[in-house]
């Protein structure tokens, strides 16, 4: 019974694992190319299990940013997990005790959240373990592969791979922006402000880490005020 639930988690997590591999490979490549040691790049993937957050973190570490800046930007970029974790928490079965919750919460990512809330009714710690472990293997495995491959890969290929992570970001942002005017305005505003922070006099003095934080908070607050979302989707057990 328990074994079966674990295997179900693994089965549901396999597409996540396969999707993570090339993305974390691009992370491994770009982190090592930007000057991060291989061991540190792998350690980041093993301890963080985030995409955008790790990426921003590496940028700041390479630029010798302050720890406060690093903590703050990690918080802003990853604070969305708060709501996801909240949803999964409400979907957890009654047998999930505090120790299991401490372990499961490590593995709440966008994709793992999406898969677990789609599952009919309560999720068990065993199911979550299968789901998280297979995804984790893909994420860490891809990072190791990408980080090590930089030393044997021709420069022209690793250069071209540098855009892969941005490609992924674009693939996340464009489809909803196409369909929803509010998201489109959010994206255009963020783009304009970010350009201003990079090139405008005085504004470009601000480090890229703080610029990302300021742009994110300002644009998201503006969009939330102008276009409040009335019904944010949440996992529930009604279908059972």
């Amino acid at each position: 019974m328990k074994k079966q639930e674990f295997l179900e988690g693994v089965k549901d997590g396999l597409p996540i694992c396969l999707g993570y591999f090339p993305v974390s490979m691009a992370f491994g490549l770009s982190a090592v190319l930007s000057g991060m040691p291989i061991w540190a790049t792998i350690l980041i993937s093993m301890t963080n299990l985030t995409s955008a957050g790790q990426f921003a973190g590496v940028n700041q570490l390479v630029a010798h940013g302050s720890m406060i800046e690093l903590a703050f930007s990690t918080f802003i970029i990853n604070v969305r997990y708060f709501l996801m974790s909240l949803s999964v928490s409400q979907k957890a079965d009654s047998k999930m005790n505090i120790f299991k919750r401490l372990a499961v919460s490590f593995g709440i990512t966008d994709e793992i959240f999406a898969v677990s809330v789609q599952r009919k009714c309560a999720v068990s710690a065993t199911y979550m373990a299968g789901l998280i472990l297979i995804s984790y293997a893909g994420w860490v495995g891809g990072t190791v592969f990408g980080a090590v491959a930089t030393s044997v890969m021709p420069e022209i290929l690793s250069n071209a791979m540098g855009i892969a992570l941005y490609g992924m970001f674009i693939a996340i942002v464009i489809p909803p922006a196409k369909k929803q005017k509010n998201v489109m305005i959010t994206v255009l505003l963020a783009m304009s402000l970010s350009l201003a922070f990079n090139f405008a006099p005085y504004l470009s003095e601000i480090s890229s880490g703080w610029a990302t934080i300021i742009v994110t908070v300002a644009v998201s607050a503006f969009a939330a005020t102008l276009f409040p979302i009335v019904a944010v989707k949440e996992g529930n057990c009604n279908e059972n």
């Binding site: 993305v23 691009a26 991060m36 980041i44 963080n48 955008a52 957050g53 570490l61 390479v62 720890m67 690093l70 903590a71 990690t74 918080f75 970029i77 990853n78 997990y81 708060f82 709501l83 974790s85 909240l86 999964v88 928490s89 409400q90 957890a92 919750r101 919460s105 490590f106 709440i108 022209i156 290929l157 250069n159 071209a160 855009i163 992570l165 941005y166 490609g167 992924m168 970001f169 674009i170 693939a171 996340i172 464009i174 922006a177 998201v183 959010t186 994206v187 963020a190 402000l193 970010s194 990079n198 610029a211 990302t212 994110t216 644009v219 998201s220 969009a223 939330a224 409040p228 009335v230």
Partner: protein, 103 residues
């Protein structure tokens, strides 16, 4: 880069990220009802991903022209709602071809 600086940095990133995921799981079973706050969180990924992509993407491949071509290809593929992986590799492939052509 000093090893201690890297290790502390990784610990900060991992610690902050873990706390964000752990606190609601362990301590909060009640829903957040603020529409404004939920909306704010809804927009954060779009704002942050955009801010991180533009303008950094243009210096991500070594040459500006190949980056612009890769960026354009990514937008077109994303517009037609291709999978993440396909968009990421398509952009890389376009950048690679552009560089092989000498740009």
């Amino acid at each position: 880069m000093k090893i201690s600086y890297i290790l502390i940095g990784i610990a900060v990133m991992a610690g902050v990220t873990y706390l964000i995921r752990m606190i609601p799981m362990v301590f909060l079973r009640k829903k957040i009802n603020s529409v404004w706050f939920q909306s704010f969180l809804y927009y954060v990924p779009y704002a942050v991903l955009t801010a991180m992509t533009v303008p950094a993407v243009f210096s991500s491949t070594g040459t500006p022209i190949s980056a612009i071509v890769g960026f354009a290809v990514a937008i077109i593929l994303a517009f037609f709602e291709r999978k993440l992986l396909f968009v990421a590799l398509g952009a890389s492939f376009a950048a690679l071809i552009t560089q092989l052509l000498g740009f």
